[in-house]
Symmetry: C2
Subunit: 362 residues, 2 copies
């Protein structure tokens, strides 16, 4: 069994403005530590998988930045999508590249912008998932919830499968009964109380041949488009073909397009300090806190305040006085202040700036 991690770095978003910009999306920011999240994602895989076998998928305007922060990634392992088409086409394209190395290679699909507190525990879970995948499953990693989180999708656990490993270190995979969209807080609380629900981490494992077969069955149009691209792979016409065919692919997520229809879905429940770091508010989960629960970066001073996220740019002080539960970000050329509970609404500020013709700041 050979493992091929595929890190999906094509995302763009506005929830981390003003730190994130069009040309520097979230995965290129060191939001949860010292290195950009994309680099951390790639670097936490060895010794489970080798960097030579790791692929990264991103858009054309981020390729140079990705190469810069991933010096050891072989040049041919960077897959550049001509345009964003959500995860189903992205995964299909990656599967073609993996197939050229090993048609039965096990792909580990990883979002580039998630936080993992315990990489060793993550690698153990991925190893278990890879075992299932090698046997033909479309495997996903489900995170055991520890709170009624409304920001994540959930998986309803189905029939038990045979355990992987033994004793305390064993993993207990199951079928997936269904995928559940982000619930409201009452529903999320019920999921937590009832048990049998896991957070959908967006991490998937499958053999290249298996996922291509699943795509052909569930998304025949995409299947045909991939077949066209596959013929050009390794030839001088690849770039041209990709640029012609890929933009026509349906923009659909792998969850919706394939997973939810698949009969081979299995989930490996795990815990490894996972967070999708969905907004500035989530930095309180993944960063070191001071005695009063504040996240401080740069030249930040909090007085009489709890539970704030204050990110300075290191060039001038930010003083926060008598405030709780606030996000304050100084990006040098723009300042953001938002209540933690409203951290998702940062996009509204971005829209307003766009409306005012201030696109250069976005």
């Amino acid at each position: 069994m050979k493992l091929f991690p595929v890190v999906m770095a094509g995302g763009s978003g506005t929830r981390f403005w003003p730190l994130s910009r069009k040309n520097r999306p979230k995965q290129f920011l060191p939001l949860d530590g010292d290195e950009p999240m994309l680099a951390a994602t790639v670097n936490r895989l060895p010794p489970l998988a080798r960097i030579q076998d790791t692929f990264v998928v991103c858009g054309p305007n981020h390729a140079a930045a990705a190469r810069r922060i991933l010096r050891k990634l072989p040049r041919e392992n960077l897959i550049v999508e001509p345009c964003p088409r959500n995860t189903a086409p992205c995964i299909g394209l990656a599967a073609l590249h993996v197939t050229r190395r090993d048609p039965k290679g096990v792909m580990i699909m990883l979002p580039a912008d998630h936080h993992v507190a315990r990489p060793d525990a993550m690698r153990e879970a991925l190893a278990a998932g890879a075992q299932l995948a090698f046997e033909g499953a479309v495997a996903t990693i489900g995170i055991r919830p520890d709170r009624p989180e409304t920001g994540y999708g959930y998986l309803k656990v189905g029939a038990r499968l045979k355990a992987l490993g033994r004793g305390k270190k064993a993993f207990h995979p199951s079928r997936v009964e269904r995928f559940v969209e982000k619930p409201d807080v009452v529903t999320a609380s019920r999921y937590l109380a009832e048990g049998g629900y896991l957070w959908n981490s967006g991490i998937f494992l499958f053999r290249a041949d298996v996922i291509l077969e699943e795509i052909r069955r569930a998304m025949p149009v995409l299947g045909e488009q991939l077949a066209v691209i596959e013929k050009s792979l390794g030839t001088p016409s690849y770039g041209r073909t990709l640029a012609r065919v890929f933009p026509a692919a349906p923009s659909i997520s792998i969850d919706y397009g394939v997973m939810e229809k698949s009969q081979r879905i299995a989930v490996v429940p795990a815990e490894f300090g996972w967070s999708d770091v969905g907004s500035f508010a989530a930095l309180s989960e993944v960063r070191e806190l001071d005695d009063l629960g504040n996240v401080l970066q740069g030249d930040a001073i909090v007085i009489d305040g709890h539970d704030n996220v204050v990110l300075g740019n290191g060039k001038r002080p930010i003083a926060v006085v008598g405030v709780d539960g606030l996000v304050v970000v100084d990006a040098g050329d723009a300042v953001l202040v938002v209540r933690k509970e409203k951290a998702q609404d940062v996009r509204k500020a971005v829209e307003e700036l766009k409306r005012r013709g201030r696109g250069s700041l976005l």
Copy 2:
């Protein structure tokens, strides 16, 4: 009767940091309009008094700035205190300068950092106060309270004096029964409900000879020090004498040192949209508001937020999202975020920066 406004611009404070600095205190900032508060204070006096008869008192490190913003003020009308000694010595010194022009000249003592919404109404009140002062009273302007403000001192109104003027435009001065320190909110509410209390505006009117006599009686040491300085006035030794004698003067306010002991105190009740602009929070009273009650300056955007004070420096945007009752100030080299109710606590941030050896920012 000749009027001599004396604008006291010696204050230094930290409640407007990071806009105010050691070398640019509050009265040099355009907090309530387009011009520095000191300039507005001087410029709202004509035609009641002439700029040639107006004095400004400030410290040596602010003299150049004061001259710069008060181009029309005669050079000899800027009185430079060698060091701050509170208002009693400041007023005594100013009285010496006024005496040289007219011993019975009526001084109008004005803080340099207050807001006045209706200068014409203020001038009418000052004219009434000057009338009382010319007749020998130590007059003060009392502002009719419209809310149970805890940030101001109060005057308890005593026996009625004869009205000044007639009909609707008449002023009804009284004796002052006592001066009251800043009350708690229960006491302030009682004052408002009972009536008979006025806000102490810190604006006083008296003849130069009268206040010097009052000082000699209530503060004999200061009286003697002033006598020494007076002898040197207009001679080459003035600067040297002032530098030697003034720092030895007792650092006491005119309220405490003289007013509260005087038998000649009278108060003129008035309303002219007065505010002492005691903190960033007060800008909501004196600045234009948007539809949601926000004060916006520079490149400020508020989304889903009420009752905020957001002061940009005009060079980069500040986006405030989902927040109410917050003060956000970008001074270019420092950023402040503080809840409006805690706006007085800005000094804590200043102290913390001092403790960290960041004095250059203060």
